[in-house]
């Protein structure tokens, strides 16, 4: 019982269905295998068919005109073209129909080329198959309804998640076009990874020199709103109209009041020092030291044998101590820890009458070190070694600080873990000195709701955790450092002022750079991280530039496929860098010969010689694999986009839609999509900006009508469908006890339609009735229950 017939089905006024069938020869592509004339004869005899014709090339101008003429002449209200795949020419014929005044969705394509004439040589059977395909289309098209492409308005405001170079580039492009941008950055400052680099390959221009102006423009742009130290908490809505919650972390500094004078961190007594804590593994004491690294904590398991109880402050001052007592005063009065006591022994001779006593109250804040006028006190880490490489920071080494002195916004934040106030309630120095009264220790997390029309994800990359790769010695040997650690070591604002020094403060005489650590390795990441070859070459150059030193590159293949990259590789060869073709297998400090004494030994096969080599060096730089950000999966779910096998965000098409995603209105750029260097990240940021501006400029977004519609008179409200939708287009209306579909979110997969036990959901263009009719046509039961 079809009660809706002749209503919205585009039937002629008397309800008659008039189908025109057009069979294409496609030159000989179809006609050689399918008897086209026979198919036309067959089509003529099918119910509802008013006219059937064949033509050499249906997709040609005259072919289309033929259809258009017939629509008028024969009063056709349905069209079937039997030709190539609909993926090829469906848009063409839909357009032709529309131009002739027929709703384009009253058209159906029968694919008798790709899936018929081309895949068999048996002409009678190919003809037979073509007939079935045509009959299925004729049967189906009778039930087609007029559909309209829907337009949704697009909010001009753009959300960019991630303030690295890709996000900054996109933000500037969009903002320069006059459109408002909200730039959300998780760290306290924008700039991303690039802000920690000293130089960039292959041009060797200073990263800060090219990045800082962009950061500043972004910070000052009237169309860009930066939300740093903030994260996207949730996203709802759809293309054109997203509702986004931004969670602003507790910075303890009011960015509206702060003028960036820096007094707070100059006055802060707490030095960021490595922290360690004792944990037990099955009753056995292990130390897990966690070090501050670019604002992120990392863990290093230190093996037994390094088990000395760590003393954050040396308990015996060196000979430099003049027993002035400043440290003890600071500890008691500023820190409130009372960990240092200055003892006076009146009876003893002058000079020896004073002594310092340390007790267990030390919280490791480092205030005493800062107060010490002679440098007699030092901070050491869990292994009693001087903090150098593991103190990887670019900004002030304080509990309240900015990540770099070029921070944008130039607003400090308080690191709760090291701040004395947050450890024992004392201090409060920064609040006292701040002329703007911007510091507030009881600041709460804030949630901000914004509405945007499109979203760009540019969250960048992480590097692989090196601790589990014991054979390379990272976390075990002082002078084995990661690529990112080397960048900071090299950076003019770093702890060594840009000098390349070993952990003991002396310059290395030889450095090994190990490629492919965790990349191209099925135990970790199968992908090539793409940037390591080039930055490793850059490292070699920087080392050679700054220290007199031998440099060894242990590589599998040098992949230098970018503009000027191969030339850079050549240049490094000229600079006498030693290239050893062979992946390093292990780094050990165990000498097997006198020249290895006191050195790190890199073991690798020189595969060009077929010889095993042990190369003693002073410093080893590892090039760890780039991997997806921790939490990428969660963000992908929030946004309704996918992650690929390696965890990077999935683009809509790897070649043709590299910055679009499966979710309309959501774009990706930079290394969050796959490992990328700066030029590629910038290019993608700009490309995404262009995509977004084009969407904004059009003002509306067209939604295909192949969406789910719910017949509320049939829906019983069982809610089986709700979770079927990957796009959250379906929701339950509690009041009316029915499911409702937000068609702007629906992508038209039809999964809910197949799931609905009540038959209450239909997919426009793929209704149950249409598919059933198609089946009947395909199987020759057309007469039984077609449009009649």
């Amino acid at each position: 019982m079809d009660t809706s017939k002749g209503n919205g089905h585009g039937a002629s006024s008397n309800g008659e269905i008039r189908v025109g069938v057009y069979v294409c020869h496609c030159g000989t592509n179809i006609a050689a295998t399918v008897d086209v004339a026979e198919v036309v004869r067959f089509a003529e005899g099918l119910p509802n068919v008013a006219v059937a014709k064949d033509y050499q090339f249906m997709c040609s101008e005259p072919g289309q005109e033929l259809i258009q003429q017939d629509i008028t002449e024969h009063k056709l209200n349905r069209v079937v073209v039997a030709a190539c795949s609909p993926l090829m020419h469906e848009p063409t014929f839909r357009r032709a129909c529309a131009e002739a005044g027929l709703n384009p969705f009253l058209f159906q394509m029968a694919n008798i080329r790709e899936q018929c004439s081309w895949v068999t040589t048996d002409k009678p059977r190919a003809t037979e198959k073509a007939k079935h395909i045509v009959r299925a289309a004729v049967s189906r098209v009778a039930l087609h309804a007029e559909l309209q492409v829907r337009e949704v308005p697009v909010n001009e405001r753009v959300l960019i998640i991630g303030g690295g170079i890709a996000g900054i580039e996109a933000a500037l492009q969009i903002a320069d076009a006059g459109k408002p941008v909200i730039l959300v950055e998780r760290e306290p400052s924008i700039g991303g990874r690039m802000a920690t680099f000293d130089k960039t390959f292959p041009t060797l221009d200073c990263a800060a020199c090219i990045l800082t102006p962009k950061m500043v423009s972004a910070g000052q742009h009237r169309n860009i709103d930066i939300r740093s130290y903030a994260e996207v908490a949730s996203v709802s809505g759809h293309v054109g109209q997203f509702q986004v919650s931004i969670r602003r972390n507790r910075r303890y500094v009011d960015d509206k009041k702060c003028n960036g004078c820096g007094l707070c961190y100059q006055e802060c007594p707490a030095i960021v020092s490595p922290k360690s804590r004792k944990v037990s593994i099955e009753g056995q004491p292990y130390f897990v030291g966690s070090y501050a690294e670019g604002g992120e904590a990392r863990k290093v398991t230190i093996r037994q044998g390094d088990r000395e109880r760590r003393k954050p402050i040396k308990d015996t001052p060196t000979g430099d101590c003049i027993f002035c007592g400043k440290c003890a005063t600071a500890c008691s009065e500023v820190v409130g820890a009372h960990a240092i006591v200055l003892r006076r022994d009146e009876s003893a001779e002058a000079g020896k009458q004073r002594s310092l006593e340390f007790n267990g109250n030390c919280i490791g804040c480092g205030a005493c070190v800062r107060e010490c006028p002679t440098g007699a006190l030092t901070v050491t880490d869990a292994q009693d070694r001087q903090v150098l490489h593991h103190e990887m920071m670019l900004g002030p080494n304080k509990a309240i600080r900015v990540p770099t002195l070029q921070a944008v916004p130039n607003v400090p934040f308080i690191d709760e873990e090291t701040c004395i106030h947050f450890r024992n309630g004392g201090c409060g120095h920064c609040a006292e000195v701040c002329p703007q009264e911007a510091i507030s220790y009881d600041m709460e997390e804030a949630i901000e709701e914004v509405e945007v029309g499109s979203i760009l994800v540019a969250t960048g990359f992480d590097t692989i955790d090196l601790a589990p790769m014991v054979q390379y010695g990272w976390g075990r040997y002082d002078n084995v450092i990661s690529g990112l650690e080397f960048e900071i070591l090299c950076h003019a604002s770093g702890s060594t002022g840009g000098k390349i020094l070993k952990a003991d403060g002396t310059p290395p005489k030889s450095v090994a750079i190990l490629h492919c650590i965790g990349s191209r390795d099925e135990h970790y990441h199968e992908h090539c991280s793409r940037v390591c070859c080039m930055y490793s070459l850059k490292f070699a150059h920087l080392v050679r530039e700054k220290v007199e030193c031998d440099v060894y590159e242990f590589y599998i293949d040098i992949r230098a496929g970018g503009k000027g990259y191969e030339e850079f590789y050549k240049r490094l060869m000229r600079e006498d860098v030693t290239f050893i073709r062979g992946k390093a297998a292990e780094v050990t400090n165990w000498p097997m010969s006198p020249e290895e004494e006191g050195k790190l030994v890199v073991k690798a096969e020189d595969t060009l010689l077929g010889q095993i080599r042990r190369v003693p060096v002073d410093m080893v730089i590892l090039s760890p694999a780039l991997q997806a950000r921790e939490g990428a999966q969660t963000l992908a779910q929030t946004l309704g986009i996918g992650c690929g096998g390696e965890g990077f965000f999935l683009e809509r098409h790897p070649k043709l839609a590299p910055v679009q995603t499966a979710a309309d209105g959501v774009y990706v750029a930079g290394a969050c999509q796959s490992p990328k260097d700066i030029p590629d990240s910038v290019a993608q940021g700009a490309a995404a900006a262009a995509n977004i501006l084009s969407l904004i400029d059009k003002g509306t977004f067209s939604i295909e009508p192949v969406v789910a519609v719910i017949d509320e008179t049939l829906c019983g409200g069982c809610r089986t469908c709700i979770n079927m939708c990957p796009y959250s287009a379906l929701s339950a209306d509690e009041e009316r006890n029915v499911a409702v579909c937000e068609s702007a979110l629906c992508k038209g997969c039809g999964t809910c339609v197949a799931t609905c036990p009540a038959g209450a959901i239909q997919q426009q263009g793929y209704t149950d009735a249409q598919i059933r009719a198609e089946l009947e046509g395909a199987l020759g039961r057309l007469a039984a229950s077609s449009a009649e």
């Binding site: 037994q304 014991v470 050990t588 400090n589």
Partner: protein, 288 residues
Amino acid sequence: MNYLFYPGCALEASSPHYYKSCRLSCEKVGIQLDELEDWTCCGATAYVGTDEVKATAYSARNLALAERAGATDLVTACNACYITLRKSDKFFTNETMRHDASEALQAAGLAYDGTVRVRHIAEVLLNDVGPARIKESITTPLDGLKVACYHGCLLTRPFTDIGDPEQPDIMDRVLAPTGAEMVDFPATAKCCGGMLMTTRREVGLALVYEILSCARAMKADVVAVACPLCSVNLEAYQDAIGQVYDWDRPMPIVLFTQLLALAQGASAEDVGLDQCMIRPEFLMERFA
């Protein structure tokens, strides 16, 4: 707790003190080792180089026997036996190999369904007993003793599920409750050379020298091992090493279970310290 135990040829012949101390230290933590009835040689690392299917079938005979005895675990104390039996078990996951080896087993009226878990005694002590219970069993702590735990290659290679393949610490964690100090020992999983000591002596000596000199540099009093072959290779050739390398002060090699049993109250004689080729005199005196 009872475990089905597979001693292997070496434990029977060259390392009776290992077998003895194994039983002793296990008893102290409530474990009884029941020897697998009429076991066959596992094939070690040699047989598989001649005929892989036969090697698999031979060693799987032991697994089949264990399965028939209703055991879920088959425990061994020899690294080579451990790995060979485990590999045979794993090979049964390959269609062709399982087919061929099963056919051979069938001819002997046996079948293996892949239900037996092959375990090493060190790992059983660590995971099934645990440091806490070991700690309870300690009566005469080994305070002051510096031990280098030598795991050898096969304990965590190629199967890395029981410990790190580069720097395992299974033995360290088992012995730590004894009160002895476990020194950092980078060479803990380096290879002792295995059969090369017989066929290519110069290569074998170099490998053992690397391990021993590392232990010396780490100031170990004694090297503890968990494998009868490692034990022989490390102790029997120290004279020969001295002829090639700078090696004059011999390093005593003990089985880790000897140390454990001593700490649990056994005497030097009980654990067969006198069967060590390089006698740890200081221990023999202390636990006389």
